[in-house]
């Protein structure tokens, strides 16, 4: 009974994530139409065979924009999580393994970042380095470091006193080797599921930044930007909101189910 369910979560999650990856790659290779090409005649066109998701207020093909948007949202989220995870593992690992004053300093810096509302931090970083896809990744990435660092730290603290670490130490393994060859793989399942959850938080955070006008720059699309642009047309053309909204929800759902599947599997 139990076994069946966990695989079900995993399967549905994997299918949704797979679908999304197909869309990402499709968007990179070729979209049916130029996602930015405008056409007066197609303003607010309803879904049709030629334009399965219809067209937006500039007569741009919504399906092509969603393909481009999924790609951009994916890049932003992966980039954000990558920064958060890599920096988080390095800092958290050092803190958890060595402890002492190093731990104290890094964790205080961590606290400082953590104490900032992430939207405030993103606003400031964007004001300093200018708007754009990659700047958003940096801004969100920094905001994501503390929670990863904390998680990795506590995981490393737990693991370092286990027998296998002591054994490795006795055999003369260097600290770095113990940290990254021995502890990291053991801490991996815990980190993995929070990476997936982090990915989802990044998708939502990107949408929030787009809502405040500081995400991916127009005319390029991202799911968050499409959603917040479409808000203006909610009353008469709700489809413009619904398509990116549903795609975003499915994307997050897919990753969440996958995360559940992974953590039940460990």
């Amino acid at each position: 009974m139990k076994k069946k369910r966990k695989s079900l979560n995993f399967i549905i999650g994997a299918v949704l994530v797979g679908l999304m990856l197909i869309m990402v790659v499709w968007g990179w290779i070729k979209t049916p139409y130029d996602p930015n090409a405008m056409n007066t005649a197609l303003k607010f066109a309803r879904p049709s065979l030629a334009h399965p998701f219809g067209c937006d207020n500039f007569g741009r093909d919504v399906f092509s924009r969603i393909l481009q948007g999924v790609g951009n949202t994916f890049i932003v989220s992966v980039g954000t999580v990558a920064i958060g995870t890599i920096v988080g593992i390095l800092l958290g690992g050092l803190c958890g393994y060595y402890g002492g004053w190093l731990d104290e300093i890094i964790m205080r810096c961590n606290d400082v970042i953590f104490a900032f509302p992430s939207i405030f931090m993103a606003l400031i970083v964007i004001s300093l380095i200018g708007p754009g896809k990659y700047q958003v990744i940096l801004a969100l990435g920094i905001a994501f470091v503390p929670s990863f660092a904390r998680l990795v730290r506590s995981e490393f603290m737990k693991q370092k006193n286990r027998d296998y670490c002591l054994a490795a130490e006795l055999m003369g393994a260097s600290s770095l080797r113990i940290m990254f060859v021995h502890i990291l793989p053991n801490a991996f399942p815990v980190i993995l599921s929070s990476v997936i959850i982090g990915f989802n938080n990044a998708v939502i955070a990107e949408a929030g930044l787009s809502y405040l006008g500081i995400g991916v720059q127009p005319p390029e699309a991202s799911l968050g930007a499409m959603l917040s642009d479409a808000q203006t047309f909610l009353y008469k053309d709700p489809l413009l909101c619904i398509f990116p909204g549903v795609v975003m929800a499915l994307m997050i759902l897919g990753f969440a189910l996958l995360a559940d599947g992974v953590s039940e599997d460990k």
Partner: protein
Amino acid sequence: MKRLKKFAFAVVLTTLTIALSACGSGDKKGTASSSITIGIPQDLDSLDPHTAVAAGTKEILFNIYEGLVKPDSEGNLVPAVASEVVPGADGKTYTFTLREGVKFHDGSTVTVEDVKYSLDRCADTTAGDPLVPAFSNIESVETPDDKTIVVTLVQPDTEFLANMTTAIVPKSVEDLNEHPVGTGPYKYVSWVPQEEVILEKNENYWGEPAYIDDVTIRIVADADAIVTGLNGGSIDFFARLSSDQVSQLSDDYQIYEGTMNLVQALYLNNKVEPFTDERVRQALCYATDVPEVLDLTSDGKGSPIGSSMFPAFGKYYTDLSGAYPTDIEKAKQLLAEAGYPDGFTFTITVPSNYQPHIDTAQVLVEQYKKIGVTANIELIEWDSWLSDVYSARNFTSTVIGVDASNLTPGALLSRFQSEAGNNFINYSNADYDAAYAEAVATTDDAAKTEAYKKCQQILSDTAANVYIQDMAEFVAMNKKYTGYVFYPLYVQDLAKIKPVEQ
């Protein structure tokens, strides 16, 4: 186990009931036609009419304060606190007769001392420039008797009267930001920052009194919350809507259509490569398909313009919108001549809070692709725009709308003089400077008009900017009210709005 289940359900039910009990009690705003709730997109920056700078603030303060003269909806200046104006023949003196029995909102009568105090306050140069820049031309303000004010200028200026709309305030009030007192048809009641401003009818108004007793001005910062607020009935009136917003409104609203009275253009920094080259600027003008911009961003509404002036200026305005018909071949040829046969890449900086400008920029990006020019949009915060683009002139190009502070052509054209402090596009043209100087100096009306037209022609010929349009403005007002009047200036005249007779 049953009990547990029941308990859980009970709690869920209770919370649902709490949420639902609120239903049905939604209040209907504005049913009493003696009051109206209007929405404005940003908070006021000051209640002191002399230090307020934002156009959005001034359009509200228009209802509280008045000058010796005030504009009417035709753009003419009509006597207000003064009952009569006699300009001197030499264009150097203006003699005002104080209107009898005009009272401030605090009940005191307006005296010539109050007028002198108000004008002197705005002409004061101890903190650098005077509060009203044109007042640097004032030599003296004299009050020979208790109903006459004589303003004497240093240089003759036949258009000076336009600056006399400066608010007359009582000498006795120290802090106008805390205690705003004016002579207008509405008086101030309260202001909660970021929330609302409340005004009430001035019963002792000297002119035609307002129709509606209580006005609540609600600050609605978010563009989408505006539509929600209108459809939901929490706002009765909103000016300066885009066609996209209007398209989402319900039938409860009467839509008035006018123009925003501003010059929307792709402003080019004339000191930055490649826009130093006139041919490159002209190429962009030829590549711009203005009708398509209008079709895509505002259902074709808006007036195309070809220079830095909009039609509300009447006799001074000259229609140059046809100067650069869309011509891709010609644009490419000009680019090749200028040494950019394969095009180039540039950045369009746009303030992130102005969706109409963002929309226009997006269309331009697509249009310039056709001549091989790649434009990238960069959205920045309004305050970063002010300091980086407008003050520091550190930009390549920007889409923005420039409005006029009054209806003298100088309000729009003076900034393009080579040395003007607000010449943010770094435009520099000796012919232009000469033409503008002539326009200001001459007292002959026909010659003046001609010179101003020449200025516009030069801006167009040299393609100072890629001129686009005077944007369409939509005003939505609940059908319970009527009487909205457009002004050729940035003004909302609330005193003209009246409830519909039922």
